[in-house]
Amino acid sequence: MKSDELTNRARLAKDLPMHLGKLGKRRSGQRGIGLVMVVGSALALGGCVSVKAPDKPIVIELNINIKQEVVYRLAADAKNTIDENSGIF
């Protein structure tokens, strides 16, 4: 019995009250899941997408956008200023 316990755990599980009468189905289900996992991981490896880190640092030119926003805001007032001081413009 002891050697049975060590080498065949499935039989031990069979004796647990929770799974009484369901063991056959469960085993085939487990085998199915295992198969899916193997196929799935094989597919995953085949369709692997490699992402390379850029060799240059990523620089986002925020200053340009901020300046453009300011320039657009000031444009109307600057136009008036130029018109009002046309002697120096």
Partner: protein, 139 residues
Amino acid sequence: MVKKLVPMAAKASFLALAAGIVVLGATALSAPAAEAQTRDPAYAAARAAGQVGEKADGYLGYPVPPSAEIRRMAEDINIKRRAVYAQKAQEQHATVEDYAFTSGCLLISQTRAGEKYQAPNGSWETRTSAPPLRDSRCP
């Protein structure tokens, strides 16, 4: 309720009218006191001759090496421009540089054919009837 509203509306319109008159009066009074409204003939001539041109930063520059007289005149105008930019920039809560740059965009647009302006790459260009080359941030 309606009777009460009518005098109030009349009062409001009278106040608006009074405010308008005050504004008009102030404008009329300040107009002659403001900066000379037409260009000095020497400045106008220097512009037309391409001895001074509009830089992208909102100030006058020299497309060709200036004479002492041209330099003195342009520096004088640039000092006055800077004073105006500084005052207006403060009113608009902007930096003097941003205000001057915005003005520079407009001033380059306003150049007449034959006048000089500075392109974004720093080169001096002669304005033609075609739109001038301006900084991409210009409005």
